[in-house]
Amino acid sequence: MLEALGITALALTALSALFLVALIVRRSAIAREERRRAELEERVRPLALALVDGQEVDLPPLTSEERAMLAEAIGRLSRNLSGDARERIGAFFAGSEAYEIEIEALRHRTAWRRATAAYRLGDMACPEATRAVLPLLEDRDADVRAAAARSLGRLGDAEAAEALVRALGEQTVPRALAFRAVLDLGPAALPSLRNLARAEDPERRAAAVELLGWLGGAADDAILIAAVGDPSAEVRAKAAAALGRLASADGAEALTEALDDRIYFVRLHAARALGQVGEQAAVSRLLRQAREDRFEAARAAAQAVARVDPAALLEAADEPGAGPHLHEAADLLRV
């Protein structure tokens, strides 16, 4: 027993000493590393800015550390840039050592390294990286898939559109990231979205239809109006929201009919969309929904009336039995 106590005390003392040493070593190592990085960054930053700015730059001989820091600095700058500046960044990295290292790392056995490589390639802005990053949307690790989606959006190659929308529909990539990535592709994604709006899988249809609301235009009205009658409630709701976002006057009739949908969140999106479209003919239906429907759908209807016909809202709110949603919308209108 005494021996066990002694051994335990010794072990704990050793462990304390170990943590203390780790603390000191780690702290001084990080401090040194931060100083070194700060110096390096100060040296390469003017170069990075000049390159991004399109100035003629004769690259001086750089050490491997400086090259890595230059790549990192340009990568960071690229996150807030678009257009010519990003193209210049892509041209700088194309075929470079830093680019090749990250391409190689996409096959690394550890997930975090693959994810980091995919992420950095997005910052390097070489469109030719798309083909290398695309398969990572099916990686077994969720972080890698997310980083790949993010970078495919940043790379802006329409080739990635279909895979991104599929990933969005199947929820293999965080919705917020996949959505943003497709938006980053811009109109180049539209042909894929239009195809996917007719896909068999309702989740893919829903994702495609929702994105058409953000990227599409009048040419997509027909697809969206048809989607308001889709068998899937999710698709109907997204289609209604998309028509509202596009302020599609042609979609008003379908949206008004959707106010009678049996699923409340379809009615909610239809009401909100009618407010965005400005459909005067739907006001009486919206007022009824504001008085009688479930909470969120009723609130959406009241807010829609506030947008379409403020006078009608104020009048309706003063009537007996107007209900809390019309009162709230009217009060907010007065604010």
């Binding site: 003392t13 980091t116 997310a146 993010r150 965080p174 990231l177 009723a298």
Partner: protein
């Protein structure tokens, strides 16, 4: 008196076993936390916070701020909450019948106007006196209600919230600009699975703060507050990271917790009949979801920071700790069926028994066990070498744990930039084991008496939903 002798010996032996087991658990947790934090740090290299911020489908959040007599800090708090970097959020301050000028300060600063807001009252609360919206910033709402306590105020906030997620935050806490974006990350990654998340709470005493922003992280001058800095490191960087890893996190701090609103509503909201409404809500969430065999996670996220002011007087600290311990006791009693119940998985077989044995009953061992060991020695049945060895090991184990937490902090977030602060923390890692820990244990021990005195509050509260949708009345005048 032989039974007394036997009892003392049994208690002393149990105390030995208790310390051995507790420290073993802590060491395992330290290893788990190290691994988890390393993973988290690596993930920061590819965290797409900017994209989440720029995504139109990032879930909007209602930030709930229960406020009772917060006149001195409420305006700064609200300004900093409105300035959070997040795509879409609203701030709902619930004035819980404050006796000071909390509401008046808000009215002056934000130009509040009364609105007959439709309230989704699925959770009953004390009477609502009025709801206001700010003319200066339409994302700010103020619910004015009769006093009903923090849980009741939070429930009123839940009823008034518009968005699918709610963030509960203390009125005197300071969130860093990106905190909301970071705490929502696990929900963005797995919206169907992650139902709640919590961030780290750090102590703001001693820090340089300007207009609700922490500009420079420094240690407080108060020794009592420094000791709490260490405690928070241990609790968050070891305890919460470890339990979160096992999906058995029992505490999402009331000062900074994000929840799926529909679930909070489904389980009846925060309980007004316990002082530990935060832990009780989380345990009830676990139970609700496990009883339905749902695939879910409640996660601790170590990098979003909420700064809070720690008590600097013994009186305040003792009250805080007694309240916490009482809340823990009430929660464990209310959910006693979970303890040791395999149906609840790691919650029933790991977390709840751990909290019961080590956190709840811990003070009994620490307050009575050590005198029992001393008594054993005085009776001559325990040699002085054993006694000294035991006390030394108990102290060394405490030092190891605090140093481990400090090393984890340095390994991961390194918020204290001044080396002198770290040196002081190392010193306090040793000092806290002589006196401070025993005093805190004593306060927690006293909470048992509070529990006995407040036994009437241990019952379940029956809740009734309203079928109709009421609206907030317009305040007089």
């Amino acid at each position: 008196m032989s039974w007394l002798y036997d009892l003392a010996i049994a208690l002393a032996a149990l105390t030995f076993a208790y310390f051995a087991l507790l420290n073993l658990v802590y060491l395992v947790f330290t290893a788990v936390a190290w691994r988890s934090l390393t993973r988290h740090l690596r993930a920061r290299g590819h965290a797409a916070d900017d994209e989440i911020f720029a995504s139109p489908v990032t879930p909007p959040v209602s930030v709930l701020v229960p406020a009772f007599d917060e006149e001195p800090t409420i305006v700064d708090s609200v300004h900093s909450l409105l300035a959070l970097r997040y795509p879409e959020h609203e701030v709902i301050v619930v004035n819980d019948g404050s006796l000071d000028g909390t509401l008046e300060r808000l009215q002056e600063e934000f130009d509040l106007v009364p609105v007959r807001k439709a309230l989704r009252v699925v959770i009953p609360t004390a009477a609502i006196r009025g709801v206001y919206v700010s003319r200066r910033n339409r994302r700010l709402w103020v619910v004015d209600k009769e006093n009903g306590g923090k849980a009741d105020a939070l429930n009123a906030g839940v009823n008034a919230s518009r968005f699918p997620y709610i963030l509960a935050i203390d009125a005197d806490a300071i969130l860093e600009e990106d905190s909301l974006l970071r705490v929502v990350r696990p929900i963005v990654a797995s919206p169907d699975v992650v139902v709640a998340t919590g961030g780290i709470v750090r102590i703001a005493n001693g820090c340089r703060i300007d207009h609700g922003r922490v500009l420079d992280v420094r240690l407080p001058s108060s020794r009592l507050a420094i000791l709490q800095v260490l405690e928070y490191f241990r609790a968050f960087l070891i305890g919460r990271v470890g339990w979160s890893h096992m999906n058995a996190l029992l505490i999402v701090s009331g000062a900074f917790g994000l929840f799926r609103r529909s679930l909070v509503e489904a389980i009846g909201g925060y309980s007004s009949t316990t002082v530990g409404e935060d832990i009780e809500l989380v345990v009830r969430l676990h139970r609700h979801l496990r009883e339905r065999d749902e695939d879910y996670r409640i996660e601790f996220v170590p990098d979003p920071v909420c700064w809070t002011e720690a008590p600097e007087t013994m009186n305040q600290l003792s009250r805080q700790r007694r309240r916490w311990h009482r809340g823990l006791g009430e929660t464990l009693w209310r959910h006693r069926r979970v303890a040791g119940n395999g149906r609840y998985g790691v919650l029933g077989l790991g977390a709840v028994p751990y909290f019961l044995l080590f956190e709840f009953f811990g003070p009994i061992f620490e307050v009575l066990g050590i005198p029992a060991v001393l008594g054993w020695w005085l009776l001559g049945d325990l040699s002085a070498v054993y006694l000294v060895g035991f006390l030394l090991i108990a102290m060394l184990a405490g030092v190891v744990l605090s140093l481990a937490a400090l090393t984890l902090e340095e390994h991961s977030f390194r918020r204290h930039r001044d080396g002198r602060d770290i040196a002081r923390l190392v010193r306090f890692s040793v000092l806290e084991n002589v006196g401070y820990r025993q005093i805190v244990s004593f306060w927690r021990f006293l909470a048992f008496f509070d529990l006995v005195r407040g036994r009437h509050e241990w019952g379940e509260m029956r809740r009734k939903g309203f079928a109709t949708v009421p609206e907030a009345p317009l305040p007089p005048g």
